[in-house]
Symmetry: C2
Subunit: 232 residues, 2 copies
DNA sequence: TTAATAAAGTGAACACTGTTCACTTTTCGA
DNA sequence: TCGAAAAGTGAACAGTGTTCACTTTATTAA
């Protein structure tokens, strides 16, 4: 949290920033605990002791406010993964850590993670977005997240751990899908992860298990002769 | 659709059933196109030419009505997968078909699928559900879905395709997570699947690709007993 | 310091939502 | 045919996001 406000700004903008932040903080607090259903403009206004209409001097709509919450969360999520990806670890451990960190951070704030993937575009919207190319996508926050994965795959391939015949982009999509699915399954179906009848195990262990399975799916296959090129 | 009404019933209950069905049909129509945001009691009432309060003679709440929609969809989804799972196919093809069918059916009705996994239980609720055991879970609709997967895994292990050291329940969770994640990624991020820069390919092909990757992750390892993690 | 201007904040209203309830109308069995 | 049960209704309640004319406060220029 950066709770300090730059002194090279006029008091007005500093005050404004403070109020804006207090709104976001209240929203964050309520949303983390109760999700979107508990988050109303009137409730936020009450929490920060302003009138409901005051909120609209700081945010164009509830939607905009929520968007900012989600964006901030996604940035935190990716920062976590980036930090882990930069660690000096054995490739297997690093890849596994990326997945487990992603899932753990997602599950930590279930409402945030679920909300970050909640909008369902209409067919027209979907078609329109098809038109923006790789360069455009890679600059969105989700695109940045994806690039980390593609890099990971290419690294794995260079080290001879992952199958070189797989297209890195497709492999990255596969990893993301698998991680995304586990996170959401744990969020929406908490019955599952620690489920019997196998002996009870801490949740984290299953995440690591899943991550290993995912990596195994991308590993060089048994039969295919792998050219023993030294890793770069 | 069973649009015929049993004649061994009094006209009253038949009429009632018809009205009830018309509500559900209208709800289905609206929900499929616009999702929950477009579905209001007043709108439903308008569509079937009744007053809003009439709906409450047939459904206790909007929540209940929605629950029925979701349940019906999930049943259709599982019926599709069951049908494919019962096909007389080579194991690989059968396993792949289960995943691709699951994902395809989910993506066909994005709002339904997303809604079926939309509730986020509080920590207390989650803890409460932890207490119901395998026998209870296996009898829910989601439990039934899961059992199909466990059977598939056990079949694969029996045939020597899947790694026998993996616990079937954990492996099944892994498959579900991967399939679930792909379905939701396609629903919420339609930018991704057909994304460049790799040569454009029909969406379906990526689903099959992903399914194969997932299967490869569960296959018997090359020769050396894999390091740590996956085999424990 | 004062006057003019811009920003911040407010309360009432609008149009919407799910839901309830007293009420009327219709249906159906005794 | 009568009476009870079921079906259906309209108005209302409490809640939602949002707008807008309005007042109050703060900032800037003269």
């Amino acid at each position: 949290m950066d709770t300090d406000y730059p002194s090279d700004q006029t008091p007005a903008v500093r005050r404004r920033q403070k109020v804006r932040d207090s709104i976001l903080a209240a929203a964050e607090r309520v949303f983390a605990k109760e999700g979107e259903s508990g988050l109303s403009i009137r409730r936020l206004a009450e929490e920060i002791d302003y009138s409901p209409s005051a909120i609209y001097k700081y945010f164009g709509s509830k939607e905009e406010l929520l968007e900012e919450l989600k964006e901030a969360f996604f940035d935190r999520l990716m920062a976590q993964v980036d930090r882990v990806a930069a660690l000096n670890l054995d490739f297997h451990d690093r890849a596994r850590a990326c997945v487990t960190t992603y899932v753990a951070t997602a599950v930590e704030r279930p409402h945030h993670y679920a909300a970050a993937f909640s909008s369902i575009p209409t067919v027209e919207e979907a078609a329109a977005r098809q038109n923006l190319g790789w360069e455009d996508f890679i600059q969105t926050s989700k695109g940045q997240a994806f690039k980390v994965l593609v890099d990971l795959v290419e690294d794995g391939q260079a080290r001879g751990v992952f199958d070189r015949t797989l297209e890195p982009v497709k492999a990255a999509k596969s990893i993301w899908a698998s991680s995304h699915g586990l996170a959401l399954l744990m969020i929406h179906m908490p019955v599952l992860p620690d489920m019997q009848p196998c002996e009870a195990q801490p949740t984290g262990d299953f995440v690591a298990f899943h991550a290993d399975i995912v990596m195994r799916g991308l590993a060089v296959p048994a039969s295919t002769p792998q050219q023993n090129g030294a890793s770069t």
